[in-house]
Amino acid sequence: MAVVLEAKDLNKAFGAVTAANNINVRIDQDSVVGLIGSNGAGKTTFINMVTGYLKPTSGTIRYLDRDITGMSPRQITQLGICRSFQIPQLFGNLSVYENLQVGVGIAARSRRAAAGARGHEREEIETLIERFNLGGYRTHSAGLLPEGTRKLLDIAMAVAGRPQLLLLDEPTSGVSADEKFRLMDMVMTALKVQGVTVLFVEHDMEIVSRYTHRILAFYEGRIIADGEPAQVLREAEVRRYVIGEHTPAHGDADGGATSHG
């Protein structure tokens, strides 16, 4: 199995605050990986370093066997890593169609674009509209869409870049509980067609266990657990620091009731 992304000894410090502490992880091609952890645990910092928004204090990041540490977001996107955002980053004054038009247009002119991509932009846009169920909103201003649709558009924009590695930052946050599964179903189906490796940050444990093959649990900048969902979600440390259950799990040395607020 090819390794798509490899982080080695990754560290990030903001003055006295350690946002990333010795992160070492390998992501395999075509896998779907979930990143969990409480706020401030380091998940978004990790994503920000992978996508070039932040430069690591030390350590390296390799993508498809190429050192991308310290590259700019633009360069990294051009190599095939795209991301969506916690707060959807859209072109508020443009319509849904125009948003995608920009996204597809940029992708069609990138170095990785297939020959003749520029002739097929319109088809691409329509495909994305269909896959992400945006047809009913095509002429609507992106700034005025309902939250779930904004999220979908944000992800569709990321997918428009034809990524090989897709990072989704809390794709279901801000979406109502009953909508979450529908959204994730749609996204995952759309992605399976493309053949993409997916990493996504999520707080909803149900979503994470349903859609991922593997979970990375973060805490205080470190990865405290890495493995299959069922196994990770049972681990004591994960239950303590991420899920927030203070019932000691089987075999937990701490025992006793240390309740967290």
Binding site: L90, F91, I106, T139
Partner: protein, 323 residues
């Protein structure tokens, strides 16, 4: 490569073609009407169209999310370039002078663009203002260029052809054609992918970077284009009025360009020319009948437009679907 523009409806826009049709129509009408109109009208149209070209450049920048308070820099450079050819080298050819205007303005903008493309909002406005005031300061203290008085210029030939009594007409026709080329060019540009990036950058440049496009490159390009437009506008005005002076680089001149841009709105490449014509017309009459309330009128109008017509006068003509 030639993707037609899309309106908010997502369908291929007939609007794009409509603008082109109007432009061609205006070109024809203005050229034909030239010999028929009184001198003062031709003069005013000359100045209006030239200023419209400058404001067209401003509009391009505003579509990219930037308000420049220093277009006077390039306007003045364009004027002085044309003037210098005449004053120091005895060249009185319209074409050569305008070429000089565009090249000088474009070259300076290319250099300054590396710097300015890194700034946004107020700081972009301030820095652009600073550069125009630097030129002002330099010109005022340069006696070889006439200091505060500036100097005169005139154009006697077009591409080598002596104009004689057709001088005024030739200048006017040149202005009309230049304005047309500028408007058409910007229109096509804005309908292209890179033109669409301008609006995207204005809305969310972070996202543009995150999709792999270079924000800096688009801004730099648009900045140079807007400067070239300001330069050619300055050259045309210089030749029309027959005079150039440092006031062209003073910040209040740039302020007037900003005013027209706001007044006109960014909805169409036709808007700047409409706005400039209205501005020039009102200004000429105001100067004559009530010179001490001219700025008062400007100020009040600007406030009204900002508060009630944020899309400028042009938004009166368009119906934008919200959602």
């Amino acid at each position: 490569m030639n993707q037609p523009a899309h309106t908010l409806s997502g369908a291929p826009a007939r609007g794009a073609d409509r603008t082109t049709l109007v432009l061609i129509g205006a070109l024809v009408v203005l050229l034909v009407a030239g010999p028929l109109m009184p001198r003062w009208a031709m003069f005013m149209l000359n100045v209006s169209l030239s200023w419209g070209t400058v404001v067209l450049g401003m509009m391009l920048l505003m579509r990219t999310g930037l308000v420049s308070f220093g277009q006077g820099l390039y306007y003045c450079l364009g004027a002085y370039a044309a003037g210098t050819l005449h004053h120091f080298y005895g060249i009185s050819d319209i074409l050569l002078m305008l070429l000089a205007s565009v090249l000088l303005a474009g070259a300076v903008a290319f250099v300054l663009g590396f710097l300015l493309a890194k700034y946004r909002d107020i700081f972009f406005a301030m820095l652009s203002l600073a550069f125009s005031m630097i030129l002002f300061g330099l010109l005022v203290k340069t006696s070889a260029l006439g200091s505060t008085d500036g100097f005169g210029l005139s154009a006697k030939t077009f591409a080598g052809i002596a104009l004689g009594e057709w001088e005024r007409n030739a200048l006017y026709s040149t202005t009309v054609v230049v304005a047309f080329i500028a408007a058409f060019g910007v229109h096509r540009y804005l309908s292209s992918h890179q033109g669409r990036l301008a609006g995207a950058i204005r809305d969310n440049e972070l996202r543009v970077e995150y999709m792999g496009a270079s924000v800096r490159r688009v801004i730099h390009t648009n900045y140079v284009v807007s400067a070239a437009l300001a330069g050619v506008g300055g050259g045309l005005v210089g030749i029309t009025i027959g005079h150039v002076d440092p006031e062209m680089a003073f910040w209040t001149t740039s302020g007037e360009f900003v005013f027209i841009a706001i007044l006109a709105g960014t909805g169409s490449v036709l808007a700047p020319f409409l706005g400039a014509t209205i501005f020039e017309t009102v200004r000429s009459f105001a100067y004559e009948y009530s010179p001490n309330t001219w700025q008062l009128i400007l100020g009040v109008t600007m406030l009204l437009v900002i508060m009630f017509l944020p899309g400028g006068l042009w938004s009166v003509f368009t119906r934008r679907k919200a959602a």
